[in-house]
């Protein structure tokens, strides 16, 4: 059962091959069996079995939604009423959200069963899942390696078949990079496409939730549930939601693929370059043509991103004050001591680093030199993309500079860790949609191909990924010991 796609699971439930309770028990059993991966912060077995029982009643009555009875899991950044939402932090280790995130409500309305909450980098700040208060997540393809981050638990859970489909969030690559390192399919939608209400904020002008699944067909089903205007999110975009599955099989004949020459510079590892080029050659077989494009400002994406993301993080995380919810230190001497020690004791090193950077960038005398400058660079980067996407339909390139790295390898040097986001963060600055699609292996570890499209081109991206998955089998590979 655990190797079936969402479409196969829905068919199996409707034809009574198995019940939702049986399906849910099977996944709960796997989650338990592979606990050592540390993919989950919370397993909500009781809630899941209740939901499954309810789903079975609905299925018997023939009253079904798109995900009725299908188990999923949520990144622990989405608030779930009555179930702990930690955001990977000691600060929220005791936090039971008083309401559901819009994304969670949508899954509930669609009839999905919630298996639990997935491990992640603390407040989504990290590229390896090592900053989580709950410890590192192991990559199922090589358990000495990281699964990527910040949605590391999400990617590991899908790769290990602990859940058929899950959610992630992407501020600088946090869906695409772990999807690439774990060999699964991940989609970061256009900024504003998926509601951020109840999705704990890191950098509000960049954060975007999206699906993480085994293939593009499932990603389309999940995005259909997640997308849509939400009056509760002030940056939600009021644009109709198309049918994401309708065009999956459209022809790619005449598709113009832009290859940014900055993505394929001499710095790119030769085996990564060869794997990505081989994947792109498949698209030529499918009738696509290749065009070289240039985006000269791309090299400033990392500095601009770390200014903007840190500034917004320092502002967003000022709400954790030890007064209204979350961690409070013991025996505070006065109010300043209460704030300072509660925050000092409950935030981890990476979160502190970003709060400090952001506070500095926003402080008097430095605002223009850093924050304003970064927003101007952001405009130029966005114009680079606009220019390129006026010449071609989509852009392609790698998701990451290399495959999954060893746990502990980059923790001592934050700048090295930041540089590993080089291919993903510019897309968040521009607010564009992009996917990571399994595209091969290097020494047994998965590689992701990045497909970047214009605003609201998610149907086209899913179509491109789906056609690729019909002629390749990288997405069907299962890590050793998890089949």
């Amino acid at each position: 059962m655990h190797n079936k796609t969402l479409t196969e699971l829905a068919a199996g439930l409707r034809s009574k091959q198995f019940s939702s309770v049986e399906l849910t028990q099977a996944f709960l059993q796997r989650i338990n069996q592979y606990q050592a991966l540390n993919a989950f912060v919370t397993v909500s077995a009781d809630v899941a079995l209740q939901q499954a029982q309810l789903a079975d009643n609905l299925l018997a009555a023939g009253n079904v939604g798109p995900l009725t009875g299908i188990p999923v899991a949520q990144k622990d950044i989405f608030c779930t009423q009555g179930i702990k939402t930690s955001c990977g932090s000691k600060m929220l280790d005791n936090f039971i959200a008083p309401y559901d995130a819009t994304v969670v409500s949508k899954f509930n309305q669609a009839g999905a069963v919630l298996l639990g909450k997935l491990n992640m980098d603390e407040f989504a700040m990290g590229s390896s899942n090592e900053t989580s208060y709950y410890g590192a997540v192991l990559n199922p393809w090589d358990t000495d390696c990281v699964p990527g981050g910040s949605s590391g638990g999400s990617a590991a859970a899908v790769a290990a078949r602990l859940a058929p489909a899950v959610t992630g969030t992407d501020t600088g690559g946090s869906i695409r990079q772990p999807a690439a390192l774990c060999g699964i399919t991940g989609l970061k939608p256009t900024y504003g496409r998926v509601s951020r209400y109840g999705m704990i904020a890191y950098a509000s002008s960049l954060d975007q939730g999206g699906p993480m699944t085994r293939n593009a067909e499932d990603a389309a089903i999940l995005l259909q549930i997640m997308a849509g205007f939400d009056p509760k999110d002030s940056t939600s975009v009021d644009t109709p939601v198309p049918d994401y599955s309708a065009g999956l099989n459209d022809s790619l004949h005449g598709l113009k693929i832009g290859l940014p020459k900055e993505f394929f510079s001499a710095d790119l590892d030769s085996s990564m370059a060869a794997t990505i080029q081989a994947a792109i050659a498949e698209f030529q077989q499918l009738g696509a043509e290749l065009v070289e494009v240039s985006m000269p400002t791309l090299n400033l994406a990392i500095p601009a991103y770390y200014v903007i993301a840190s500034a917004e993080c320092s502002s967003n995380l000022s709400r954790y004050d030890g007064v209204r919810f979350g961690y409070r230190c013991q025996n505070p001497q006065d109010l300043t001591d209460l704030y300072t020690r509660s925050r000092g004791e409950a935030f981890g090193a990476e979160v502190k680093r970003r709060i400090l950077m952001g506070t500095y960038a926003l402080s008097a005398g430095y605002y223009d030199a850093y924050y304003l400058k970064a927003q101007q660079v952001r405009r130029l980067i966005s114009e680079d993309f606009k220019r390129a996407l006026s010449e071609v339909d989509v852009l392609m390139g790698p998701v990451t500079p290399g495959t999954a790295f060893k746990i502990g390898e980059k923790t001592g040097d934050p700048i090295q860790m930041y540089l590993s986001d080089i291919y993903t963060i510019a897309i968040n600055l521009a607010g564009l949609p992009a996917m990571s699609v399994p595209a091969g292996f290097i020494e047994g570890k998965p590689v992701g191909l990045q497909v970047i499209g214009d605003y609201f081109s998610e149907p086209r991206l899913l179509n491109i990924a789906h056609r690729f998955q019909k002629v390749t089998d990288y997405h069907l590979q299962v890590p050793n010991g998890f089949d």
């Binding site: 500095p303 961690y327 001591d337 400058k373 930041y418």
Partner: protein, 95 residues
Amino acid sequence: MSLTVDDVKKIAHLARLGIAQQDFDNYTKDLSGVLDLMTQMGNLDTVNVKPMAHPLDQMQRLREDAVTETDQRLLFQSIAPQTEAGLYLVPKVID
């Protein structure tokens, strides 16, 4: 660009963020390194470039001035570290 330990202490105070004494050297080194990375932007001419705050240049939406939420004080205070009579408790501010 290099920061000093005193600079970092001042920033930590602005952020009301407790940092252990022995960690200041490391944070100072890390932040100086990140600032070097950020200074790369200084080389790019951005005169007359309009800062970009929202990817779709969307304006903040307004809504009707109507009541949409009910009072949920009890629920929200049920997860607070310390409350009394409907109030959040903090250490004494004024003697």
